[in-house]
């Protein structure tokens, strides 16, 4: 099976438009989409603001996450724990480098996601430039949310129409990552406003 682990923001960006997002295996590559318990914990905090992002704590989304949590076992648990600490320390040391490049340093939960990629070899799905920079430094397999959509499109799990409306929705939310906008034409043949 081919695991893809989504970070909090990638989940946030895709889950509403492609519900139920998490699950699998999909296609001949047996693609499986999961999140970490730590990521789910971030969403289990009840939103206190009435906003267009509040859907994330609704029952149907919570249920889909709960069914698709990745949990390591055996020796890997310790390895992931140590990798997580190591990545977190590195991020802390490099804070000024992140700032000078106008990148947001990965949060402790983001570091745990990256540590899973580092130890288990999973591809991490994220659109965060700070995450991308860290993943490059640690040679962790990393793809953007739009690249995941391309994989799902090629497997005929989702349609181009759905991708188009998701992009329009994200554009309206002002949450369309610059890379999506730049690469939409090449990946999907779509032009965005």
């Amino acid at each position: 099976m081919n695991q893809r682990l989504l970070d909090s923001n990638a989940y946030f960006r895709l889950a509403k438009s492609f519900h139920p997002l998490l699950g699998g295996p999909y296609g001949k590559d047996e693609l499986v989409l999961k999140v970490l318990v730590d990521v789910d914990t971030e969403f289990s905090k009840n939103p206190r603001l009435d906003s267009k992002f509040s859907w994330v704590s609704e029952a149907e989304f919570t249920a889909n996450r709960k069914k698709n949590l990745f949990s390591a076992s055996g020796d890997k648990v310790d390895d992931i724990h140590h990798a997580s600490i190591f990545i977190r320390d590195w991020v802390k040391e490099q804070r000024s480098k992140f700032q000078s490049q106008r990148l947001t340093p990965p949060s402790p939960v983001d570091c745990a996601v990256l540590a899973h990629g580092y130890v288990m070899g999973f591809a991490i799905v994220s659109d965060d430039a700070g995450m991308a920079y860290t993943a490059r430094e640690f040679e962790i397999c990393f793809i953007g949310g739009h690249e995941l959509l391309k994989e799902l499109l090629d497997m005929e799990i989702i349609t181009i129409q759905k991708i188009q409306s998701a992009m329009e929705y994200l554009s309206w939310l002002d949450d369309l990552p610059p890379r999506w906008r730049r690469e939409a034409k090449a990946l999907f043949g779509l032009s965005l406003p």
Partner: protein, 282 residues
């Protein structure tokens, strides 16, 4: 959290060339605490018997160059309702206050955190916590009030009537049953009088009953369980005079930091962080 707050310091509207006032040799000695409270009440123009509103303390925090950060962390255990962070390099102080606390707890924690601001050298020590508890209790229910309450309660014969009397006093003063009970006994101890002795379970039950009569501060401010991001920021600025959100907006614009930064610096849900990010950059 402290490290992340450093990025906001340059956007604060405080004079960074002067250090805010601090207390000299703070102590939990009864007379010392009462003197400190008397001075504080004089500065705030609050007579000893006047009920304190949390709004009375806001100006003092500002004078002490402290950034109040009103947050909505939901229902928390007592000690998680307020958080004090002192950044020695910038001499900046940040006080996070949970608006989802009951009004009477909220006032206690505000006074407790004010004590921390006055005693940066005791930051992170048990001594500092003891002093903050002592100052908060005495500020909300000074010796004059404790003496008059003691006189009223000590003449009552049964535990039930004593509990009821303390409950009435606490409700009228809009403070916790615990605060009234402990301040009465601190006064008695200092004056060499016999304490008012109540069973621990009775005190706990009575304290809960008094607290239940008062709403959370978020409910007072927003009249509902949730609120729009814009209303929250506006209310936080107006009710607490905090420069936090303006500093945060300036930092986000200058740095390009995402909602993840807000989530970490305020310890809130990612959904709320995204909502605030949109609000502040909009």
């Amino acid at each position: 959290m402290g490290e992340l707050l450093t990025s906001l310091v340059e956007y604060l509207p405080f004079n960074r060339l002067v250090k805010p006032a601090t207390l000299i040799r703070p102590s939990t000695n009864y007379d010392y605490v009462q003197d400190a409270v008397k001075n504080l009440r004089v500065e705030l123009k609050l007579p000893a018997n006047e009920v304190v509103d949390f709004k009375d303390l806001i100006g003092r925090f500002h004078d002490l160059q402290t950034v109040l950060v009103p947050v909505m962390w939901g229902k928390k255990d007592r000690h998680e309702n307020a958080l004090h962070i002192y950044l020695p390099e910038s001499h900046s102080t940040w006080v996070f206050l949970n608006l989802d606390s009951n009004l009477i707890d909220f006032k206690f924690w505000m006074a407790h955190e004010l004590a921390h601001v006055y005693t940066p050298d005791l930051c992170g020590t048990d001594e500092g916590e003891d002093f903050a508890d002592a100052l908060a209790g005495a500020f909300l229910f000074p010796a004059e009030c404790a003496e008059s309450a003691y006189t009223e309660v000590v003449r009552l014969r049964t535990e039930a009537t004593r509990v009821n009397a303390i409950k009435t006093i606490a409700t009228k003063a809009v403070i916790s049953f615990y605060t009234v009970y402990y301040e009465i006994n601190k006064f008695a101890n200092h004056a060499g009088k016999p304490p008012i002795s109540l069973a621990a379970s009775t005190v706990g039950g009575a304290a809960t009953n008094v607290a239940k009569q008062f709403p959370t501060v978020s409910k007072l401010l927003f009249e509902g369980v949730t609120t729009k991001p814009g209303q929250y920021v506006k209310a936080a600025k107006e009710a607490f005079g905090t420069p936090f959100f303006d500093a945060l907006a300036s930092h986000l614009k200058a740095s390009g930091d995402t909602a993840t930064y807000i989530q970490q610096v305020m310890d809130i849900s990612l959904a709320d962080a995204k909502a605030l990010h949109t609000e502040l950059l909009g």
